[in-house]
Symmetry: C2
């Protein structure tokens, strides 16, 4: 399970203020904490209020790279923020994200090829977020076909079915779990899958248990990667236990500690 730490996002007050004040110490502490708790990559998002997102993203990348040497996920809806950010990333980069719209694929797939980056493809287009499973599958297939045409290796593509909050779109979580399996039959080799986990509990009163229950279900459905909070210890315990159950790590009585010492 590939863990992308979600906490370096300007929508969190502490991070948003640190980006505004260019306070590296806060950013670097959060970067190190996430890596220490098992993140294999860090998502970087300047947040909705950034006035100069290109400059903010570049500052964020540099601040993080001074503290940790780990793949970085450049999270922006603006292609130029990603393009300018990629120039600075030293380790592997993840482009987060393209939609299924041709004009985004036109820019971002070649960038992913140029930088040998991974690419997250959202099952989304100008018509909005799908309301059912078939539409998610259709949009995923469109992204996969576009990557194949352009020569981008599908193994480096992560399809994100877009998890919606259970309190506003309760009928869709089941579709997401089912479609995670179905993405695997789009192509051979299949695309990988990723979710933005915390979305599932957005606005609910029991965030952690909803996150961790949905995570276990999604890992059971074959999920490859998740953008999540690695500092949520209970969540990480469920993630580690899910991998144990699926025989992805060897059992020992202290398997939770053993995982963390790796």
């Amino acid at each position: 399970m590939f863990i992308i730490g979600e906490l370096l996002n300007g929508m969190y007050k502490e991070v948003g203020e640190a980006i505004k004040k260019k306070d590296k110490s806060v950013i670097q502490r959060i970067a190190k904490e996430q890596v220490a708790r098992g993140a294999g990559a860090l998502d970087l998002n300047c947040g909705p209020v950034s006035k100069d997102p290109v400059q903010d993203m570049q500052w964020l990348i540099q601040a993080v790279q001074e503290a940790v040497d780990i793949p970085l996920s450049l999270d922006s809806t603006k292609a130029n923020v990603i393009a300018e950010g990629l120039k600075l990333v030293k380790n592997k980069a993840i482009i987060n994200s393209t939609s299924a719209d041709a004009e985004k694929l036109e820019i971002l797939v070649p960038l992913a090829i140029q930088y040998n980056a991974s690419l997250i493809g959202l099952t989304l287009d100008k018509k909005g977020v799908p309301q059912d499973k078939d539409r998610r599958l259709e949009l995923a297939a469109r992204i996969v076909a576009d990557c194949q045409e352009k020569g981008f290796p599908v193994e480096n593509l992560y399809i994100d079915p877009i998890v919606l909050p259970v309190n506003v779109a309760q009928n869709q979580a089941r579709d997401v779990l089912e479609v995670l399996r179905e993405f695997k039959i789009i192509s051979d080799p299949p695309p990988k899958t990723v979710v933005g986990l915390s979305n599932v509990s957005q606005g609910t009163c029991n965030r952690s248990i909803i996150n961790r229950t949905f995570l276990a279900m999604a890992i059971g459905a074959g999920l490859d990667a998740a953008i999540l909070d690695p500092l949520d210890k209970e969540l990480m315990n469920v993630l580690i236990t899910s991998e144990l159950i699926l025989n992805k790590q060897i059992y020992c009585d202290s398997y939770l500690d053993a995982y963390r010492k790796k």
Copy 2:
């Protein structure tokens, strides 16, 4: 999700002693507690050391029925213990269990028809517990076919793929999760599915988290029923949350409390 409370089992010291001493108060307290925490049926098992299992099962049934009015799962490998027990069950009965062996099916399927009972069918025969998914599917198909031939409604059949402890048969949990889905394509209408949940963590040091993580994964794979400990509050929280995620109950902020007040 149909919850069968597992605690009235003679292998637990307190229950074993109560059966031996014919102490109804212990049995009735445990029966009431399980029902209060959400059990929809109670499993009754005299345990391995019972010297007169027919008499012990009959005493257990009567003791429980004085305290609660709920379906009872008669849990014994001995067909005569089940046959004699069925005579006393007032509410719905569940026969736990038949194997795929013809001589067990010969006795237990007609009994299930006679008493309008549900039947748990283990994917097991004289050759032992299957080591892979295909063998589980084969044995399940044999049980389903036998029920169809004898005129027992497959909707009242619960196939149990036999969950093994993750510390001794780590490669099998994934097979069990996959085969839970595949059982559903054996027949139309499909059989229901059940697991003896606590087996997955037998002998491990982190029983509760292994149980609840596996439960979420199994519910995600379409599990219909589980024999489990309804007094494990964290486990029940995961069960309730899994149902919420699958849209089987309406979201409200206090959905955990709302479920328990039902």
